[in-house]
């Protein structure tokens, strides 16, 4: 069996037979998780029998279920396949449904690693983040709320991409820092024209039909999280409006957007609650009422950064 490639993702080293759109890890790097490609499942394969730890139904038959099994955990995606995680969380095998092998890498770099981090005791945010120098801002929200669009606009203005869609935090003595993600922005069809803001060789298509924009290098070091913004796109609005939230309000909103949902066991929810309570008290959280486009106001990136007391470097 061939040796899996090693990727640097969210501060981890992932060794994977599935090709990931992520930076390659240094040759001497160890490995936090090794993922191998297992045999294909029969069509319509059901989740295994066991204690259901989490279940979430996204509609259209897209049900994700995390099940405790004698061997470890099963993460079953009803329309894609199953990842079987070993009990020690050091290894996993990916089992595609017929014709679905190509979507497994995307699931692994986003959803699967988010569940895996939660099982290791680390909640992650459903957020995209960009950095100016050593300082980052995050856009938090459910799918389709504008996270990637705003991150794209900021990057087109000179900010660096930290992560798209999955934000793993590192707790500092006096705040939080952001681990880098895949180095790729994934744009929905209505935001795809924004890829024209970047050189053509950075743009591509993902296996789930989105337009992607690839960035060569992650920010050096872990940027410190300076603010969390909850995008509230508004096509009627003329000017950006920033609405600061109290720590209690911020905590509620943060708890509304963990990267994984549907827990039926207490411990992961306790950890989420505790992390988000600490985050809400350490980092300003604001609702960001954004005049939505296209077209977007050319000054929007500066206005957003100013709300976090940051500014783009002079060009």
């Amino acid at each position: 069996m061939s040796e899996p490639s090693a990727y640097a993702l969210y501060g981890l080293v992932i060794r994977s037979e599935l090709p990931l759109a992520a930076p390659v890890a240094p040759a001497a790097a160890g490995g936090d998780l090794t993922v191998r490609l297992g045999e294909e499942l029969p069509g319509g394969a059901a989740p295994p029998v066991g204690e259901i730890w989490a279940q979430v139904d996204f509609g259209h038959g897209q049900v994700t279920q995390l099940t405790r099994t004698p061997a470890g955990w099963s993460l079953h995606y009803a329309t894609a396949g199953e990842f079987r995680l070993a009990g020690d969380l050091r290894s996993a095998t990916a089992h595609p449904l017929p014709g679905k092998a190509e979507v497994l890498p995307l699931l692994l770099s986003g959803s699967v690693l988010s569940w895996w981090l939660n099982l290791r005791g680390e909640p992650v945010l459903h957020a995209s983040a960009v950095a100016i120098g050593g300082e980052a801002i995050a856009f938090l929200g459910a799918s389709g709320m504008g996270k990637s669009t705003l991150a794209t606009l900021l990057c087109s203005a000179g900010a660096r991409l930290v992560t798209d869609d999955v934000l793993r935090l590192r707790r500092l003595p006096d705040g939080f820092a952001c681990h880098p993600g895949t180095g790729e922005l994934r744009l929905r069809p209505n935001a795809a024209p924004l890829s024209a803001l970047f050189p053509a060789d950075q743009a591509n298509r993902s296996t789930d039909g989105r337009t992607t924009v690839r960035f060569a290098s992650a920010p050096a070091g872990l940027p410190r999280l300076r603010a969390i913004f909850l995008p509230r796109p508004n096509r009627e609005l003329r000017e950006l409006r920033v609405e600061p939230l109290s720590p209690v309000q911020a905590s509620f909103h943060l708890n509304g957007y963990p990267r994984v949902l549907g827990w039926r066991v207490d411990e992961p929810r306790r950890r989420q609650f505790e992390l988000f309570a600490a985050l809400a008290q350490a980092v300003p959280v604001c609702q960001l009422h954004v005049p939505w486009g296209p077209p977007f106001d050319a000054n929007l990136p500066n206005a957003i950064l100013a709300a976090a007391n940051l500014a783009l470097p002079a060009s």
Partner: protein, 100 residues
């Protein structure tokens, strides 16, 4: 699921926070997650003070006496407001209520 909570309170009713919740003090306010319903709640500073008192099981009369000592409020108004809050907390599964 927690059993339906009684909604009648007397001075000797004992109330305490439920083990099926987790909470965090945030400044003078309190954020709470009910683990069975998955719902989040926030308490203002006075509600947060009541919540702190209920970390230990206490009779309603004891909670009321503490509030009257700490806040300038007429006794009948304080009692009425406290009972409203306790009923809401009980209905949300955030406190346990035991009548003698």
């Amino acid at each position: 699921m927690t059993a339906p909570a009684p909604i009648e309170f007397s001075d000797t009713t004992v109330v305490a926070v439920s083990p099926r919740q987790i909470s965090s003090a945030m400044g003078a306010e309190q954020a709470i997650l009910q683990l069975d319903s998955g719902k989040y709640f926030g308490l203002n500073p006075v509600g947060a003070r009541v919540w702190q008192l209920l970390v230990q099981p206490r009779q309603v009369s004891e909670v009321l006496a503490t509030l009257l000592a700490e806040y300038e409020v007429p006794a009948d108004r304080c009692r009425a407001d406290l009972l409203v809050l306790l009923r809401q907390l009980a209905a949300a599964g955030l406190i346990e209520v035991r009548n003698a």
